[in-house]
Symmetry: C2
Subunit: 214 residues, 2 copies
Protein backbone atom coordinates (compact mmCIF):
# COMPACT_ATOMS: atom_id res chain seq x y z
CA UNK A 1 0.00 0.00 0.00
CA UNK A 2 1.13 3.52 -0.74
CA UNK A 3 0.77 5.99 2.13
CA UNK A 4 0.28 9.76 2.06
CA UNK A 5 0.32 11.80 5.25
CA UNK A 6 -1.45 15.14 5.55
CA UNK A 7 1.93 16.80 5.05
CA UNK A 8 2.53 14.80 1.85
CA UNK A 9 -0.90 15.83 0.54
CA UNK A 10 -0.29 19.51 1.32
CA UNK A 11 2.99 19.36 -0.63
CA UNK A 12 1.48 17.77 -3.76
CA UNK A 13 1.17 19.92 -6.91
CA UNK A 14 -2.20 21.72 -6.98
CA UNK A 15 -4.00 19.75 -9.70
CA UNK A 16 -2.60 16.41 -8.49
CA UNK A 17 -3.87 17.18 -4.98
CA UNK A 18 -7.31 18.21 -6.30
CA UNK A 19 -7.61 15.01 -8.31
CA UNK A 20 -6.44 12.91 -5.37
CA UNK A 21 -8.66 14.39 -2.65
CA UNK A 22 -11.69 14.53 -4.96
CA UNK A 23 -11.20 10.79 -5.52
CA UNK A 24 -11.35 9.85 -1.84
CA UNK A 25 -15.15 9.36 -1.58
CA UNK A 26 -15.03 6.97 -4.57
CA UNK A 27 -18.23 7.25 -6.61
CA UNK A 28 -20.27 10.42 -6.12
CA UNK A 29 -23.68 11.71 -7.18
CA UNK A 30 -23.79 13.68 -10.44
CA UNK A 31 -26.32 16.49 -10.20
CA UNK A 32 -26.78 19.93 -11.68
CA UNK A 33 -28.01 22.81 -9.55
CA UNK A 34 -30.44 25.22 -11.20
CA UNK A 35 -30.66 28.74 -9.81
CA UNK A 36 -32.04 32.12 -10.74
CA UNK A 37 -30.34 35.43 -10.05
CA UNK A 38 -32.20 38.47 -8.81
CA UNK A 39 -32.55 39.71 -12.40
CA UNK A 40 -34.30 36.50 -13.34
CA UNK A 41 -31.34 35.04 -15.26
CA UNK A 42 -30.76 31.28 -15.04
CA UNK A 43 -27.59 29.55 -13.86
CA UNK A 44 -26.65 25.90 -13.96
CA UNK A 45 -23.73 24.18 -12.30
CA UNK A 46 -22.64 20.57 -11.81
CA UNK A 47 -22.10 19.40 -8.23
CA UNK A 48 -21.04 16.08 -6.72
CA UNK A 49 -21.05 17.22 -3.11
CA UNK A 50 -24.68 16.38 -2.44
CA UNK A 51 -26.15 14.24 0.31
CA UNK A 52 -29.48 13.04 1.53
CA UNK A 53 -29.97 14.66 4.96
CA UNK A 54 -33.20 13.06 6.14
CA UNK A 55 -36.53 11.68 5.00
CA UNK A 56 -38.95 13.18 7.53
CA UNK A 57 -38.95 16.01 6.75
CA UNK A 58 -37.35 15.42 3.33
CA UNK A 59 -34.02 17.28 3.26
CA UNK A 60 -30.90 17.35 1.11
CA UNK A 61 -27.55 19.07 1.61
CA UNK A 62 -25.21 20.63 -0.95
CA UNK A 63 -21.73 21.98 -0.36
CA UNK A 64 -20.92 25.05 -2.41
CA UNK A 65 -17.25 25.82 -2.86
CA UNK A 66 -16.36 29.31 -3.98
CA UNK A 67 -14.82 29.00 -7.41
CA UNK A 68 -16.65 25.82 -8.41
CA UNK A 69 -20.04 27.45 -8.83
CA UNK A 70 -20.98 30.50 -10.87
CA UNK A 71 -20.56 33.82 -9.14
CA UNK A 72 -23.09 34.50 -6.39
CA UNK A 73 -24.90 31.14 -6.72
CA UNK A 74 -25.29 30.85 -2.96
CA UNK A 75 -26.40 34.46 -2.51
CA UNK A 76 -28.82 34.08 -5.42
CA UNK A 77 -30.45 30.92 -4.18
CA UNK A 78 -30.85 32.42 -0.72
CA UNK A 79 -32.32 35.61 -2.20
CA UNK A 80 -34.72 33.79 -4.52
CA UNK A 81 -35.53 31.17 -1.87
CA UNK A 82 -35.51 28.24 -4.31
CA UNK A 83 -33.07 26.03 -6.18
CA UNK A 84 -33.30 22.77 -8.09
CA UNK A 85 -31.23 19.58 -8.15
CA UNK A 86 -31.38 17.51 -11.31
CA UNK A 87 -29.96 13.99 -11.67
CA UNK A 88 -27.45 13.79 -14.51
CA UNK A 89 -28.02 10.86 -16.88
CA UNK A 90 -25.22 9.13 -18.77
CA UNK A 91 -26.66 10.44 -22.07
CA UNK A 92 -25.75 14.08 -21.28
CA UNK A 93 -22.65 13.91 -19.07
CA UNK A 94 -20.73 16.06 -21.57
CA UNK A 95 -23.24 18.91 -21.27
CA UNK A 96 -23.35 18.53 -17.48
CA UNK A 97 -19.55 18.68 -17.27
CA UNK A 98 -19.44 21.74 -19.53
CA UNK A 99 -21.55 23.70 -17.00
CA UNK A 100 -18.39 23.89 -14.85
CA UNK A 101 -16.78 26.33 -17.32
CA UNK A 102 -16.56 29.91 -16.11
CA UNK A 103 -18.92 31.72 -18.41
CA UNK A 104 -19.20 35.48 -18.44
CA UNK A 105 -21.77 37.14 -16.22
CA UNK A 106 -25.11 37.26 -18.02
CA UNK A 107 -24.41 34.12 -20.06
CA UNK A 108 -26.72 31.29 -18.99
CA UNK A 109 -25.11 27.87 -18.80
CA UNK A 110 -28.35 26.42 -20.21
CA UNK A 111 -27.82 28.17 -23.50
CA UNK A 112 -24.04 27.79 -23.45
CA UNK A 113 -24.06 24.00 -23.04
CA UNK A 114 -27.32 23.19 -24.82
CA UNK A 115 -29.60 22.11 -21.98
CA UNK A 116 -33.26 23.07 -21.76
CA UNK A 117 -34.78 25.06 -18.90
CA UNK A 118 -38.08 23.68 -17.64
CA UNK A 119 -40.42 25.22 -15.07
CA UNK A 120 -43.07 24.03 -12.67
CA UNK A 121 -45.74 26.22 -11.14
CA UNK A 122 -44.39 25.43 -7.67
CA UNK A 123 -40.81 26.60 -8.09
CA UNK A 124 -39.36 29.72 -9.73
CA UNK A 125 -35.86 28.20 -10.16
CA UNK A 126 -35.19 26.40 -13.45
CA UNK A 127 -35.22 22.62 -13.76
CA UNK A 128 -33.35 20.74 -16.50
CA UNK A 129 -35.76 19.19 -18.99
CA UNK A 130 -33.19 16.51 -19.90
CA UNK A 131 -33.10 15.25 -16.28
CA UNK A 132 -35.31 12.28 -15.40
CA UNK A 133 -35.35 13.21 -11.70
CA UNK A 134 -35.92 16.89 -10.87
CA UNK A 135 -36.02 18.10 -7.29
CA UNK A 136 -37.26 21.54 -6.19
CA UNK A 137 -35.86 22.79 -2.89
CA UNK A 138 -36.09 25.73 -0.54
CA UNK A 139 -32.87 26.62 1.33
CA UNK A 140 -33.63 26.35 5.05
CA UNK A 141 -30.21 26.40 6.65
CA UNK A 142 -26.73 27.66 5.82
CA UNK A 143 -23.60 26.44 7.59
CA UNK A 144 -20.37 28.27 6.86
CA UNK A 145 -17.54 25.78 7.41
CA UNK A 146 -14.76 27.55 9.23
CA UNK A 147 -12.20 24.95 8.04
CA UNK A 148 -12.29 26.33 4.47
CA UNK A 149 -15.04 28.97 4.18
CA UNK A 150 -17.36 26.82 2.09
CA UNK A 151 -21.15 26.88 2.46
CA UNK A 152 -23.16 23.81 3.35
CA UNK A 153 -26.76 24.53 2.38
CA UNK A 154 -29.64 22.43 3.63
CA UNK A 155 -32.61 22.33 1.28
CA UNK A 156 -36.15 21.32 2.10
CA UNK A 157 -37.49 19.08 -0.69
CA UNK A 158 -40.62 20.87 -1.92
CA UNK A 159 -41.42 18.71 -4.95
CA UNK A 160 -39.98 15.91 -7.06
CA UNK A 161 -40.66 15.01 -10.70
CA UNK A 162 -39.71 11.50 -11.81
CA UNK A 163 -40.74 8.87 -14.37
CA UNK A 164 -43.38 6.56 -12.92
CA UNK A 165 -41.72 3.45 -14.40
CA UNK A 166 -38.50 4.02 -12.41
CA UNK A 167 -40.34 3.87 -9.08
CA UNK A 168 -40.41 0.46 -7.41
CA UNK A 169 -43.34 -0.73 -5.28
CA UNK A 170 -41.50 0.22 -2.09
CA UNK A 171 -40.49 3.76 -3.09
CA UNK A 172 -37.03 3.11 -4.51
CA UNK A 173 -36.05 5.06 -7.65
CA UNK A 174 -33.87 2.73 -9.70
CA UNK A 175 -30.66 4.42 -11.00
CA UNK A 176 -30.24 1.76 -13.69
CA UNK A 177 -33.69 2.40 -15.13
CA UNK A 178 -33.04 6.15 -14.92
CA UNK A 179 -29.62 5.93 -16.59
CA UNK A 180 -28.18 7.90 -13.67
CA UNK A 181 -24.48 8.80 -13.89
CA UNK A 182 -21.89 8.85 -11.09
CA UNK A 183 -18.77 11.02 -10.87
CA UNK A 184 -15.26 10.00 -9.85
CA UNK A 185 -12.71 12.65 -8.91
CA UNK A 186 -13.13 15.92 -10.79
CA UNK A 187 -13.95 14.77 -14.28
CA UNK A 188 -14.68 11.04 -14.69
CA UNK A 189 -18.19 9.78 -15.35
CA UNK A 190 -19.59 6.31 -14.77
CA UNK A 191 -22.63 4.23 -15.48
CA UNK A 192 -23.78 1.82 -12.78
CA UNK A 193 -24.73 -1.83 -12.80
CA UNK A 194 -26.66 -3.29 -9.90
CA UNK A 195 -24.94 -6.10 -8.03
CA UNK A 196 -27.42 -6.69 -5.24
CA UNK A 197 -30.25 -5.25 -3.22
CA UNK A 198 -30.11 -6.49 0.35
CA UNK A 199 -32.75 -6.95 3.04
CA UNK A 200 -32.75 -4.77 6.16
CA UNK A 201 -29.76 -5.91 8.24
CA UNK A 202 -30.52 -7.55 11.60
CA UNK A 203 -27.96 -8.86 14.11
CA UNK A 204 -29.20 -12.43 14.20
CA UNK A 205 -30.15 -13.03 10.59
CA UNK A 206 -28.29 -13.53 7.31
CA UNK A 207 -28.92 -11.00 4.56
CA UNK A 208 -31.22 -11.99 1.75
CA UNK A 209 -31.52 -10.48 -1.71
CA UNK A 210 -34.56 -8.23 -2.20
CA UNK A 211 -34.56 -8.76 -5.92
CA UNK A 212 -32.25 -10.15 -8.56
CA UNK A 213 -29.69 -8.02 -10.34
CA UNK A 214 -31.08 -7.03 -13.72
Amino acid sequence: MAHYTRKDILELPDLFRKNFVNSLPGLKPAMVVGTLDTQGRTNLSIVSQVIHVGARPPLMGVLFRPGTVPRHTVENLLAIGYFTLNQVATSWIDKAHQTSARYEAGMSEFEAVGLTPWYSTGCPAPYVAEAQVRIGLRPVERHRLSANQTDFIIGSVEEVFFPENALSEDGFLDPEKLGTAAVGGLDSYYSAKKIARFSYAKPDRDLSLLDDPA
Copy 2:
Protein backbone atom coordinates in the same frame (compact mmCIF):
# COMPACT_ATOMS: atom_id res chain seq x y z
CA MET B 1 -43.69 12.51 -15.27
CA ALA B 2 -45.02 11.65 -11.83
CA HIS B 3 -45.01 14.50 -9.30
CA TYR B 4 -44.77 14.43 -5.52
CA THR B 5 -45.14 17.58 -3.47
CA ARG B 6 -43.64 17.95 -0.01
CA LYS B 7 -47.07 17.21 1.41
CA ASP B 8 -47.33 13.99 -0.63
CA ILE B 9 -43.89 12.90 0.61
CA LEU B 10 -44.79 13.58 4.23
CA GLU B 11 -47.90 11.45 3.85
CA LEU B 12 -46.11 8.42 2.35
CA PRO B 13 -45.74 5.28 4.49
CA ASP B 14 -42.49 5.40 6.50
CA LEU B 15 -40.37 2.84 4.63
CA PHE B 16 -41.63 4.00 1.22
CA ARG B 17 -40.64 7.59 2.11
CA LYS B 18 -37.20 6.47 3.34
CA ASN B 19 -36.57 4.52 0.14
CA PHE B 20 -37.78 7.41 -2.00
CA VAL B 21 -35.86 10.24 -0.35
CA ASN B 22 -32.69 8.14 -0.03
CA SER B 23 -32.90 7.60 -3.81
CA LEU B 24 -32.94 11.29 -4.70
CA PRO B 25 -29.16 11.82 -4.93
CA GLY B 26 -28.90 8.86 -7.34
CA LEU B 27 -25.60 7.01 -6.87
CA LYS B 28 -23.82 7.61 -3.58
CA PRO B 29 -20.43 6.76 -2.07
CA ALA B 30 -20.24 3.48 -0.11
CA MET B 31 -17.92 3.86 2.85
CA VAL B 32 -17.60 2.36 6.31
CA VAL B 33 -16.69 4.54 9.28
CA GLY B 34 -14.33 3.01 11.83
CA THR B 35 -14.44 4.37 15.39
CA LEU B 36 -13.21 3.47 18.84
CA ASP B 37 -15.17 4.01 22.02
CA THR B 38 -13.59 5.34 25.21
CA GLN B 39 -13.10 1.76 26.45
CA GLY B 40 -11.08 0.98 23.34
CA ARG B 41 -13.80 -1.12 21.67
CA THR B 42 -14.15 -0.89 17.89
CA ASN B 43 -17.27 0.11 15.95
CA LEU B 44 -17.96 0.00 12.24
CA SER B 45 -20.86 1.50 10.33
CA ILE B 46 -21.75 1.94 6.67
CA VAL B 47 -22.44 5.50 5.49
CA SER B 48 -23.38 6.98 2.14
CA GLN B 49 -23.68 10.57 3.32
CA VAL B 50 -20.05 11.48 2.71
CA ILE B 51 -18.63 14.35 0.70
CA HIS B 52 -15.33 15.80 -0.28
CA VAL B 53 -15.18 19.24 1.39
CA GLY B 54 -11.93 20.64 0.04
CA ALA B 55 -8.43 19.74 -1.14
CA ARG B 56 -6.29 22.41 0.54
CA PRO B 57 -6.45 21.59 3.36
CA PRO B 58 -7.77 18.08 2.63
CA LEU B 59 -11.21 17.77 4.28
CA MET B 60 -14.18 15.42 4.12
CA GLY B 61 -17.65 15.67 5.63
CA VAL B 62 -19.90 12.95 7.01
CA LEU B 63 -23.50 13.30 8.12
CA PHE B 64 -24.38 11.15 11.12
CA ARG B 65 -28.04 10.42 11.61
CA PRO B 66 -29.10 9.20 15.04
CA GLY B 67 -30.39 5.70 14.59
CA THR B 68 -28.30 4.84 11.54
CA VAL B 69 -24.98 4.65 13.39
CA PRO B 70 -24.11 2.62 16.48
CA ARG B 71 -24.91 4.31 19.77
CA HIS B 72 -22.60 7.18 20.66
CA THR B 73 -20.55 7.02 17.42
CA VAL B 74 -20.37 10.81 17.19
CA GLU B 75 -19.53 11.28 20.87
CA ASN B 76 -16.89 8.56 20.62
CA LEU B 77 -15.15 9.93 17.59
CA LEU B 78 -15.10 13.39 19.12
CA ALA B 79 -13.74 11.99 22.42
CA ILE B 80 -11.06 9.85 20.73
CA GLY B 81 -10.29 12.57 18.19
CA TYR B 82 -9.94 10.18 15.24
CA PHE B 83 -12.09 8.18 12.86
CA THR B 84 -11.53 6.33 9.61
CA LEU B 85 -13.37 6.18 6.29
CA ASN B 86 -12.87 3.06 4.19
CA GLN B 87 -14.04 2.67 0.57
CA VAL B 88 -16.33 -0.33 0.19
CA ALA B 89 -15.41 -2.63 -2.71
CA THR B 90 -17.95 -4.67 -4.64
CA SER B 91 -16.38 -7.90 -3.25
CA TRP B 92 -17.59 -7.22 0.31
CA ILE B 93 -20.80 -5.20 -0.03
CA ASP B 94 -22.70 -7.86 1.96
CA LYS B 95 -20.41 -7.42 4.98
CA ALA B 96 -20.52 -3.64 4.64
CA HIS B 97 -24.34 -3.68 4.53
CA GLN B 98 -24.51 -5.98 7.56
CA THR B 99 -22.69 -3.32 9.67
CA SER B 100 -25.98 -1.41 9.66
CA ALA B 101 -27.59 -4.00 11.96
CA ARG B 102 -28.15 -2.86 15.55
CA TYR B 103 -25.75 -5.04 17.49
CA GLU B 104 -25.73 -5.10 21.28
CA ALA B 105 -23.41 -2.72 23.10
CA GLY B 106 -19.97 -4.29 23.45
CA MET B 107 -20.32 -6.33 20.24
CA SER B 108 -17.92 -5.09 17.58
CA GLU B 109 -19.31 -4.96 14.05
CA PHE B 110 -15.88 -6.12 12.81
CA GLU B 111 -16.31 -9.47 14.48
CA ALA B 112 -20.04 -9.67 13.85
CA VAL B 113 -19.80 -9.20 10.07
CA GLY B 114 -16.38 -10.76 9.48
CA LEU B 115 -14.25 -7.76 8.57
CA THR B 116 -10.67 -7.33 9.78
CA PRO B 117 -9.49 -4.37 11.89
CA TRP B 118 -6.20 -2.90 10.74
CA TYR B 119 -4.15 -0.18 12.46
CA SER B 120 -1.57 2.39 11.47
CA THR B 121 0.83 4.06 13.86
CA GLY B 122 -0.68 7.44 13.00
CA CYS B 123 -4.32 6.78 13.93
CA PRO B 124 -5.85 5.00 16.93
CA ALA B 125 -9.20 4.37 15.18
CA PRO B 126 -9.52 1.07 13.31
CA TYR B 127 -9.23 0.79 9.53
CA VAL B 128 -10.79 -2.02 7.51
CA ALA B 129 -8.10 -4.34 6.10
CA GLU B 130 -10.44 -5.38 3.26
CA ALA B 131 -10.69 -1.75 2.02
CA GLN B 132 -8.37 -0.69 -0.79
CA VAL B 133 -8.63 2.99 0.17
CA ARG B 134 -8.35 3.80 3.89
CA ILE B 135 -8.56 7.37 5.14
CA GLY B 136 -7.62 8.50 8.65
CA LEU B 137 -9.31 11.70 9.84
CA ARG B 138 -9.44 14.02 12.82
CA PRO B 139 -12.83 15.64 13.49
CA VAL B 140 -12.30 19.40 13.31
CA GLU B 141 -15.83 20.79 13.15
CA ARG B 142 -19.32 19.72 14.18
CA HIS B 143 -22.46 21.28 12.76
CA ARG B 144 -25.75 20.33 14.36
CA LEU B 145 -28.45 20.71 11.70
CA SER B 146 -31.44 22.32 13.29
CA ALA B 147 -33.75 21.00 10.54
CA ASN B 148 -33.51 17.43 11.88
CA GLN B 149 -30.93 17.31 14.70
CA THR B 150 -28.33 15.39 12.69
CA ASP B 151 -24.59 16.01 13.00
CA PHE B 152 -22.45 17.06 10.08
CA ILE B 153 -18.85 16.32 11.03
CA ILE B 154 -15.91 17.79 9.14
CA GLY B 155 -12.81 15.64 9.21
CA SER B 156 -9.27 16.70 8.44
CA VAL B 157 -7.61 14.05 6.27
CA GLU B 158 -4.52 12.99 8.24
CA GLU B 159 -3.38 10.05 6.14
CA VAL B 160 -4.48 7.88 3.22
CA PHE B 161 -3.53 4.32 2.33
CA PHE B 162 -4.17 3.19 -1.23
CA PRO B 163 -2.80 0.75 -3.81
CA GLU B 164 -0.09 2.37 -5.93
CA ASN B 165 -1.45 0.84 -9.15
CA ALA B 166 -4.83 2.62 -8.78
CA LEU B 167 -3.19 6.06 -8.78
CA SER B 168 -3.01 7.77 -12.17
CA GLU B 169 -0.16 10.09 -13.13
CA ASP B 170 -2.25 13.14 -12.29
CA GLY B 171 -3.44 12.04 -8.85
CA PHE B 172 -6.76 10.40 -9.73
CA LEU B 173 -7.64 7.19 -7.88
CA ASP B 174 -9.52 5.00 -10.36
CA PRO B 175 -12.75 3.49 -8.90
CA GLU B 176 -12.80 0.81 -11.61
CA LYS B 177 -9.31 -0.41 -10.75
CA LEU B 178 -10.22 -0.27 -7.06
CA GLY B 179 -13.49 -2.17 -7.51
CA THR B 180 -15.26 0.63 -5.63
CA ALA B 181 -18.99 0.16 -4.97
CA ALA B 182 -21.76 2.78 -5.07
CA VAL B 183 -25.04 2.77 -3.11
CA GLY B 184 -28.53 3.56 -4.36
CA GLY B 185 -31.27 4.30 -1.88
CA LEU B 186 -30.96 2.41 1.42
CA ASP B 187 -29.84 -1.00 0.29
CA SER B 188 -28.84 -1.31 -3.39
CA TYR B 189 -25.22 -1.72 -4.42
CA TYR B 190 -23.63 -1.01 -7.78
CA SER B 191 -20.42 -1.49 -9.68
CA ALA B 192 -19.31 1.30 -11.98
CA LYS B 193 -18.11 1.40 -15.55
CA LYS B 194 -16.27 4.43 -16.85
CA ILE B 195 -17.93 6.22 -19.76
CA ALA B 196 -15.60 9.19 -20.16
CA ARG B 197 -13.03 11.36 -18.51
CA PHE B 198 -13.32 14.93 -19.73
CA SER B 199 -10.85 17.80 -19.99
CA TYR B 200 -11.21 20.89 -17.79
CA ALA B 201 -14.24 22.78 -19.10
CA LYS B 202 -13.61 26.20 -20.68
CA PRO B 203 -16.23 28.56 -22.11
CA ASP B 204 -14.75 28.78 -25.58
CA ARG B 205 -13.55 25.25 -26.16
CA ASP B 206 -15.11 21.86 -26.83
CA LEU B 207 -14.49 19.13 -24.27
CA SER B 208 -11.93 16.48 -25.13
CA LEU B 209 -11.53 13.03 -23.62
CA LEU B 210 -8.62 12.71 -21.19
CA ASP B 211 -8.32 9.01 -21.75
CA ASP B 212 -10.35 6.25 -23.33
CA PRO B 213 -12.98 4.29 -21.48
CA ALA B 214 -11.47 0.96 -20.37
